[in-house]
Amino acid sequence: MGIITAIGNSVPENRDALINGRSGISDLSLFPSKYAGVLPCAEIKISTELLKEKLNAYERGVTRTSLLSLQALKEAVVDAGLSPEELSKDSTALIGASTVGGMCLTDELYHDANKSDNGSEYLSSYDCGSVSIYLQSKLKIGGIINTINTACSSSANAVMYGARLIKNGLADKAIVGGADSLAKFTINGFKSLHILSDEKCRPFDKDRKGLNLGEGAAFLVLEKEEDIAGRKVYAEVTGYGNSNDAYHPSSISDEGEGPYLSMKAALEIAGINQDEISFINAHGTATENNDETESRAMIRLFRTPPPFVSTKSYTGHTLGAAGAVEAVFSVLSLYHQEIYPALQFAHPIESTGLKPCLSYAPSSLKHIMSNSFGFGGNCSSLIFSKL
């Protein structure tokens, strides 16, 4: 696995912050926006220039989203011990996900889209596909390459697609994940919907005021069961579900129909009962709409939901990266048999009464569910299991 978020540049750094309850949400200091100092974000405090230097990535037109991806991908490849030969095989797939892609360069895009004089160096870097295309060329990955965009559930679907490629014999290894960086586009987009909080987000709290945007990238290396003998294995992908809420372009139905259906579908694929889920990494964006509807869906499916936490109180909402970031956190919980505490929570939502876990706790965990829901009603749930 590999990861970079506002709480750390690697898997061990992220785990350390989770154990110690250190949030990455702060004032913007690198990203130029009118909202710096007004709307807190989970910004990775490494400049784009420094990322290029660290990664020796000086290709023309490389964007921050691609650089964050490369950082996480390299860590994952080293962690899994994948050789260049293994990467270049046509049975090694790379499934990425992003919602912003190169649109983090809002000002350059404005110029290139509207003016007909000289273009910038980023002309072929704006689309979401640019990220996976860059990673493929950098690491010479030989199998199926893809990019998924289902808004905030994008990289959960990348995990699902990769797992299904292996199941269907179309890949032996699938590197799956996603990335997004902070962008004026998303800050202003979510601002226009009035769902950004002016303080650190408080998932599942009755006084929550909205979400904080974050940035990050995470990748996981999936391998087929027959090949894992003698290799380090963190966990098994046992379930996945994808359902549409079919209710509204930017909010979830009152009873959380889409979330309920995706969780249920994941349980069916995993072949387990709802009471076998030991822990949920909730979507928990801390918006009025999400946390209430997600709570209702959890109550509907589990009656008494298992322990749960939204780690967006650490990383902010990393959009297209969130599913992969939270997949890494879920797998860390399983592998180390521990639960990380929810931050900034004080009072439960009155109508549901659900309280997330509030302190770090070693726990016996067998199956962890990770939820991601997005605009367009795109809901996905993943289940990771201890071997």
Binding site: M103, I133, I145, F375
Partner: protein, 346 residues
């Protein structure tokens, strides 16, 4: 792998109602814009708010949704989705210096808006996904649909692809050297000896499942490659063709995405050489160049297999006459993303 049962297409040609492929509609200012229908079946209030990409996608899908009692998944490929809305919102951000903005364009701008709108309009709560992998967005959606059909026999999936010409992506790709600087008509596209192509757009939709009964076409295989190494690409193509056609067999038609770009001709020539003796047809003078044209080629192939009639303007090299039982589609996008697909009679 996958059976296609229904297929619809909105394109720059007369491909939607009263299909007529013999006469060619012409490009204007190096653009082949979609010949859009009246969109019966989309409520006016909703239609007005839709950007062009969403409108074409939903419009093309409606006949299939109407004819199919239950759709078990919506699988869309689009490189950019509604880019027009996206840049409109971007322009607001810059022009109003991050002031108070209206969210309409933002919500419409996300590439998953097409699949989402289809789900919303039909209250379809099943599998819903959007693949955005640029020049292979349709191919990776097709692979997804093939896996779904295999995993869930008896279920029906809506598979499709959409991309639009917006003034913005035209500008970006023009600056990047992918559209011709001199005026070139689609009728003379292949005679042009210069780099770059002309712009196009469209939406193609398919009802697919694992059932051969009553199908229009069978998708026998698909291969995607990322490479600029000509030798490597040729070797991969040979392997793929050989794995699907024994030594004494060959496809009846090679349908290529040749696009008038002098820089890319070598790839098309190489594939023609591998399949020498096979009839060669071309399609981009009909739809222009955009990231998901292979979905247009897929729609055309279904049509050729059903009708057994080839519009004369598609011919590049005719060695043999009908019947058409199998078609190999080869496309490449910007010389980097390549795909081969085999469609045959079911």
């Amino acid at each position: 792998m996958l059976y296609i049962h229904q297929h619809t297409c909105i394109s720059p040609q007369q491909t939607f109602n009263d299909i007529q492929l013999e006469s060619l509609r012409e490009s204007v200012d190096n653009k082949l814009k979609a010949f859009e229908p009246a969109y019966e079946g989309i409520p006016q209030g909703i239609l007005r708010r839709m950007g062009k990409a969403v409108r074409m996608g939903v419009g093309a899908a409606i006949p299939i949704l109407k004819n199919t009692p239950a759709i078990d998944g919506i699988i869309i490929g689009t490189a950019n989705g509604g880019l027009e809305d996206c840049i409109k919102f971007l322009n607001q951000i810059i022009d109003y210096e991050e002031g108070l903005l209206t969210p309409g364009n933002f919500v419409q701008s996300t590439p998953n808006a097409i699949a989402a709108q289809l789900g919303l309009m039909t209250k379809n709560k099943s599998y819903n996904i959007t693949h955005v992998h640029r020049g292979l967005a349709f191919e990776t959606a097709l692979i997804d649909a093939a896996m779904m059909a295999k995993e869930n026999p008896g279920k029906n999936y809506l598979l499709g692809a959409v991309d639009e010409i917006s003034s913005y992506n035209f500008n970006i790709d023009y600056l990047d050297g992918w559209y011709k600087k001199e005026p070139v008509s689609n009728k003379d596209l292949y005679g042009s000896q210069t780099p770059a192509s002309i712009a196009g757009e469209g939406a193609s939709m398919f009802l697919v499942n694992s059932n051969p009964q009553g199908a229009s076409a069978f998708v026998k295989g698909i291969k995607t490659i990322h490479s600029q190494d000509e030798e490597f690409i040729i070797q991969e193509f040979k392997k793929f063709i050989q794995s699907h056609f024994p030594a004494n067999q060959k496809p009846d038609i090679l349908l290529t995405g040749e696009n008038g770009d002098s820089r890319l001709l070598k790839y098309y020539s190489a594939v023609e050489l591998i399949l020498s003796g096979t009839n060669v047809l071309r399609y981009k003078h009909m739809c222009g160049e955009y990231p998901t044209t292979s979905s247009f080629a897929c729609w055309l192939s279904c049509r050729l297999l059903e009708q057994q009639q080839i519009p004369g303007h598609m011919n590049k090299k005719i060695a043999d006459n009908l019947p058409v039982k199998s078609i190999v589609i080869y496309n490449n996008y910007k010389g980097l993303q390549h795909s081969l697909a085999i469609l045959s009679l079911p």
